[in-house]
Every structure is written in structure tokens, then in C-alpha cells.
């Protein structure tokens, strides 16, 4: 009986040490991960320390920042200010969308532009062709043919965006990625012929009548240090970085 007690006393600490070590390290790891992803949840001291290493990216429509005042990263609507009403097929409408570096580090930036047709309730209309929404992309960006589809255009800015650590909110580099939009005149020719059973008259239904076009932009930024590894890790994309910092995409096969 005594022997059994002695044996159990010897075994007890080993198991608990292992479990405690594992649990402690796991909790540390989890908390580290969260504080890096969302500095808002950290203590003020740690946040101030992290700020000097922060990567930040902002979207702009003209001179308007597209970020809510509480600094929470939600999807914010923009107005398509160049439109001034409804879009006539074929007309070029200026629409200046830009990204800026509002962090404290140089960064590489990519933008995912998603285009689609929606009905009046905002639901996507999938049988209409999104490639009839033409985007006039700004210079300095390279389109990833591998990642892009009719509904999604992925573009990478080929140079690092400089930061202004003294004034990160407004001092960093800002570059335009979209200059304007055009709705293809072909939307006016996409008609479905029918016949009114009562009158016998031929009827034409314009498939693009009463629909909206939606353009959403997601800007991603990543540090320039160890850029190739960072981009591969963060975005899952292999890129080439030249000695002068120019980013390029591998040729598609």
C-alpha cells in the first residue's frame, strides 16, 4: 500500500508538468497571434510599441478615405462619384480609386477588384456577363492572369509603397489603381424576343435593364522585408522581387 502511494507521488508531477507546459505555450501562442492581427485588443503600452512596426493600407475614392471613423475594418460603401446618376452604355465615367500606406513600414500592395451585376434587392444576377463592366486600370499595376476571372481582377502594384512613420495616417505614398469605368454598349443589344399573347405584338426584353453593377475593392498590404516569403505566406502567391524592389509575377503557362 505504501509502495503504491510512493509510486503515484513520483508519477504525478511529470504528467502535470507536460500538460501545464503545453497549455501555457498554446495560450501564449494564441494570444500572440491575436495581438498581431488586431492591435486594438492589446494593452495601450504594447500597442504603442507595435505601432512603429505596423503595416497599414487605406482605400480612397478621390480625396475621401474609405474607412469608418472608429478604425474598424468594415466594408464601406463608396459613391461612384463620376457617375452623376445612371450609367449610359458606352460612356466613360471617371472614377478614381486609390490605395495609400498609412502604416509605419514600406509595403507591397495588391488589390482584388470584384465586379458583378445585381438586381434591385442587391442579389447577384449570375446569368449576366460581368466582363461587360470595363475597368480602366491605372498604370504601374500588373494584372495576375492566373488569379483573375471575368468577375475578379487581381492587380499588384509593382513598386513598394513608402511609409511616413512620423505621420503614418496621411503621409505615406498614395497611388491610383482605377481611373474610370465604362458599361459596354453591347448591353443595349442583349434583348430577348417575345410575343404578347393578347395583342400579338412582338415584345423585346432588355436583359440589362433595371440592374445595377457593383464594384468592390479589397486592398491587401504586406511588409517588404523578406517580401517573397511574406507574400507567399500571406497571400499564397509566388512573386519575383528585383534588386531595385520591383515586383513582377511569374509568366503564366
Amino acid at each position: 500500500m505504501m509502495k503504491r502511494n510512493q509510486n503515484s507521488k513520483k508519477k504525478f508531477p511529470v504528467k502535470y508538468i507536460a500538460v501545464a507546459l503545453c497549455a501555457g505555450a498554446f495560450l501564449m501562442g494564441v494570444s500572440t497571434g491575436y495581438t498581431k492581427a488586431e492591435p486594438n485588443y492589446t494593452t495601450p503600452d504594447y500597442e504603442a510599441d507595435l505601432e512603429t512596426w505596423r503595416v497599414g493600407v487605406l482605400l480612397w475614392e478621390g480625396e475621401n478615405k474609405l474607412e469608418s471613423s472608429d478604425d474598424v475594418k468594415n466594408e464601406n460603401g463608396y459613391q461612384l462619384t463620376g457617375l452623376e446618376g445612371e450609367a449610359k452604355p458606352g460612356v466613360y465615367y471617371p472614377e478614381l480609386l486609390s490605395v495609400s500606406n498609412n502604416g509605419a513600414l514600406e509595403e507591397y500592395v495588391r488589390v482584388l477588384l470584384r465586379i458583378r451585376w445585381t438586381d434591385q434587392s442587391g442579389s447577384p444576377v449570375r446569368d449576366l456577363d460581368p466582363s461587360l463592366i470595363h475597368l480602366d486600370l491605372a498604370e504601374g499595376w500588373v494584372v495576375s492572369q492566373q488569379e483573375s476571372t471575368d468577375e475578379k481582377i487581381v492587380i499588384y502594384y509593382t513598386k513598394p509603397l513608402g511609409a511616413d512613420p512620423e505621420n503614418p495616417a496621411d503621409g505615406g505614398d498614395k497611388v491610383a489603381f482605377l481611373n474610370g469605368i465604362t458599361i459596354d454598349p453591347a448591353v443595349a443589344s442583349d434583348v430577348v424576343w417575345g410575343k404578347n399573347d393578347e395583342t400579338g405584338n412582338i415584345t423585346l426584353t432588355y436583359r440589362y435593364n433595371d440592374v445595377n453593377f457593383e464594384i468592390s475593392a479589397e486592398a491587401d498590404a504586406v511588409q517588404t522585408g523578406s517580401a517573397q516569403d511574406a507574400i507567399l505566406s500571406a497571400w499564397g502567391v509566388e512573386v519575383n522581387i528585383a534588386e531595385d524592389g520591383t515586383l513582377s509575377l511569374p509568366p503564366t503557362e
Partner: protein
Amino acid sequence: MKEMWKNCSHKKQLLLVLSALVLCLSVSVGMTLAYFTDWTAASGEGKVADMKPDTELKEEIQNLDKVITVENTGTAEAFIRVKVFYPNPELNNMEVTFESDEGWEEKDDGYWFYTKVLAGGETTSELKVNVTAHVKADGGTPDFQIIVVHENTPAVYDESGNAQPRDWYAAQSQTEGEEGNE
């Protein structure tokens, strides 16, 4: 045998501790390799202008003549053309001539095209069909019908916003204005 079992148990415990340490280290190493990133998103939408023209032919009969206008009763900007069908004048002892206000232009295919874009609520200028029926030998006037067909097609635009008619192959057609005259 007991000693051997004891040693084996210690080895298992040691392996357990080492395994736990390796697991812990590997978790923390993964976290420290995270890169600095950020993202933001926004979206906007616009509406395509109404493309379905809605037009109405209007005729005014003055003696034997017809005054034709077309009104855009919808909101879509449109282009208009009309075609006037009438009997062979020589065989029917009559004369048919056209008198057009600014904007109307006759093409080789027999259509009269209104060359200006017609905005919602606007009406074309007048296209007048002048009919002269000569008295027949028996003292009567010829029987004839004048039928007007009008068609519309939506306006499309160049990059600067200049309107032009979309191709006419799918033009909306409307036949009206049958007239019997004795």
C-alpha cells in the same frame, strides 16, 4: 523484470515530456514567423440607364395629308425611324410627296430617320405626307390607304457621351395610322 519495467516507464515519461516540449516549441515557432499584413475593403454600385424605349406615333390628318410626329413616352433615350406605305401613285391617279422639318432624313431603304436622339418626354419635329388625289373620269376619287410604321432603337454612346443609334436589327416596331379614304 520489475527493474526493467520501471526503466521502461521512466523512458515513456521522458518521451512524453520531450514530445510535449517539441509540440509547444513548434506551436510558438509558427506564431513568431507571422508577417506584418493589413487589409481593407469597400464597394460601390451604380445603375445602368434605362435602355427600353417607349415611343408613340401621333398622326394628324389634314384633308388628305398626314402630319406625323413621334413622342418618347418613356425615360430611355431613343432614335426613331418611320416608313410610310401607300399605293402606287401612277396607277391610282394620285401624288404623294413628303415635307420634313429639321431632323428628318430619307435613306435609300425608304425609311425616314429622325437624326436627333429623342430624350424621354420629347417629340420629334413634323414629317408631313402630302397627298393629292386627282378626280377620276367617273368623277370619284381613288380609294387608298396610307400606313405608317414607326420603329425605335435605344441610344448608345461613344466615350465622350455622344449618342448614336444602336443597330436597327432589333428595333421595336409599331404599325399605326391606317387610313381609309374614299
